[in-house]
């Protein structure tokens, strides 16, 4: 029989049998898990592929591929604030960050409609970043919805999501003070991995073991290149303030490094839009 067993707590979708587990769980048991990363700093952001305006329904959208990390962001609005809420002369941003059930290389992410705590937290981080970037005072009584879906997670998702959201907002012709770019790095003492993959990120959190020498940390920033402001900033793991200073500096440099890519992507879609607009006329 096809599993028609809709689980008790979520009758609105089909769920598999209880006690199902990923075969990767056994894989890691039999073979030595992820190949240990060679202790070599990597200072480069993985190849970036950016594209805006590929979804027709959204006011604006962006697709970002950063190495194997793939995500999609769409922007709706400004539209009327749906529920009755307090009058605000400022617009409201609502951000939802979710991962597709198949996004994680090892585990299936429960597709339950209730977001995971980490997803909720990332939504809030993203919201905080975009609130600083969008000219919300120009959108009284309205709401701008930003939805991010991770299609494949291979590390640095928050950074990629920040870049994608910035692109999607610009593509939606929402007024912003500046573009926003995201970048992250993983540090283990003096070993620095810019734009870490999932394995490297996991390595960082495993580096938190007492056995392993030294401290590991993971830092993500959201950066406005021309205003030189940090709109998002999130870090975990042991570090000193001086190291943070260096790392932030480095990441800002990296952001400026791929700024031309972001600009090119937007300009290209502007040119296409202008052309098609003229043809209509």
């Amino acid at each position: 029989m096809f599993s028609s067993s809709t689980s008790r707590n979520d009758p609105r979708r089909f769920t598999g049998p209880d006690g199902a587990y990923s075969y990767h769980d056994i894989l890691t048991g039999s073979t030595p898990g992820p190949t240990p990363q060679p202790p070599k700093s990597s200072m480069n952001i993985r190849p970036l592929f950016l594209k805006t305006g590929l979804l027709s329904n959204a006011q604006g959208s962006a697709y970002v591929e950063q190495g194997q990390t793939k995500l999609l962001c769409s922007v709706f609005g400004p539209r009327e604030i749906p529920r009755r809420s307090d009058f605000s002369l400022k617009g409201v941003l609502s951000v939802e960050f979710r991962s597709a059930p198949f996004a994680h290389p090892r585990h299936r992410i429960s597709s339950a409609f209730e977001a995971q705590p980490t997803e909720k937290e990332l939504s809030l981080v993203l919201e905080g970043a975009l609130q600083a970037a969008v000219c919300l005072h120009l959108y009284p009584k309205s709401q701008i919805d930003v939805y991010v879906r991770v299609l494949e997670d291979d590390g640095s998702v928050l950074a990629a999501a920040i870049t994608a959201a910035g692109l999607a907002l610009a593509n939606a012709s929402i007024q912003m003070f500046d573009l926003v770019l995201g970048a992250s790095l993983c540090r283990k003492n003096d070993l620095i991995l810019v734009d870490p993959t999932l394995n490297e990120e996991l390595g960082a959190s495993e580096g938190c073991d007492l056995d392993s020498e030294g401290h590991a940390s993971l830092l993500t920033i959201g950066y406005q290149p021309s205003l030189d402001q940090l709109v998002a900033y999130q870090h975990e793991g042991i570090i000193t303030v001086d190291q943070i200073d260096q790392d932030v500096e480095l990441l800002m440099k990296k952001c400026k490094g791929f700024l031309p890519n972001v600009q090119c992507c937007l300009l290209e879609s502007l040119k296409i839009q202008t052309k098609s607009h003229r043809q209509h006329e």
Binding site: E121, D228, E236, I244
Partner: protein
């Protein structure tokens, strides 16, 4: 953040005050309001603490439960934080109102305690690959008088320091399944090593300056802030931006430096006081919520 309504002129008054290093309640930018802490109040928990920072009132209970280990970390136990922003604290928390704040606080705590260098989860291990202690840290926000991150984290640290993990002896029954035996003596418990445990310090940017321990009115005036986890050794264990504004790199680093200094001092005083309380023994008078 639960925001209170504040008029533009009130904001201006707060802003100028911060500029002059003389805040509305007379404090300097880096001054903290008086804090009162008491541990071991709730008898049905493994550890608990009640902390009052001005009008912020926090109750934390820790429950230790035996559970299966995770395959990734067979020798370690787990810490689970749960924050309840009850509508008691402020009407804004009614319904799902406090949910976002609760997520933010619990995630910040989880991140701050993540590294093994600040909290060694192996002290929660029982039987490698099979059983471990899971500490459920339940945080109840009873009243909301600003600066919740800091107040909660100090209460959590106090509650963890009062936590006793029951002694367990493992007996192997002739080659079969090992058996666990829990000690009968309630006082026969191990204390946790919290020497490196962090607390959270919030710094809010008001105008061009940062303040610590903001009041709700000050929170309403700030555009951006940073929450950081600091332990007594001065290690930064977690940092994140809060609020809707942005930071310049210099401002951020400046804030983090100030925050580290405050965090070290707060940690030191907290540890001292907790030690002092511990020396008073089980028989010390309890004051509870009437103090």
């Amino acid at each position: 953040m639960a925001t209170v309504l504040v008029s533009e002129t009130e904001k201006l008054y707060v802003l100028h005050g911060v500029q002059e290093d003389l805040r509305v309640d007379g404090r300097a930018r880096m001054d903290v309001r008086p804090i009162v802490v008491e541990t071991d109040l709730v008898t049905h928990t493994s550890g608990s603490a009640h902390l009052r920072l001005a009008n912020s009132d926090i109750l934390v209970g820790v429950k230790a439960e035996l559970e299966a280990t995770t395959p990734a970390r067979p020798t370690e136990g787990r810490l689970e934080f749960f924050v309840d922003c009850s509508a008691n604290a402020t009407p804004d928390f009614e319904g799902r109102g406090g949910e976002n704040l609760a997520t933010e606080i619990s995630q910040a705590l989880a991140r701050a305690y993540q590294s093994a260098h600040v909290f060694d989860r192996r002290q929660l291990g029982v039987l490698a690959g099979q059983q471990c202690w899971v500490l459920y840290v339940d945080i109840l926000i009873l009243e909301c008088g600003g600066n919740l991150f800091d107040a909660v984290s100090m209460a959590v640290k106090a509650a963890l320091s009062s936590t006793r993990i029951p002694k367990i002896s493992v007996t192997a029954v002739d080659g079969g399944e090992p058996e666990l035996e829990l000690s009968d003596d309630p006082f026969d418990g191990a204390k946790l090593d919290l020497r490196s445990a962090p607390i959270l310090v919030t710094l809010l940017r008001i105008g061009n300056f940062c303040v610590v321990d903001p009041t709700p009115e000050e929170e309403a005036c700030a555009s951006a802030g940073v929450v950081m986890g600091v332990n007594v050794q001065g290690h930064v264990t977690m940092t994140k931006k809060v609020g809707s504004g942005s930071f310049h790199q210099r401002g951020l680093i400046e804030a983090l430096k100030n925050g580290t200094a405050i965090g070290v001092e707060l940690n030191r005083q907290l540890l001292n006081k907790l030690e002092e309380e511990d020396l008073q023994g089980y028989q010390r008078p309890k004051f509870g919520f009437l103090s």
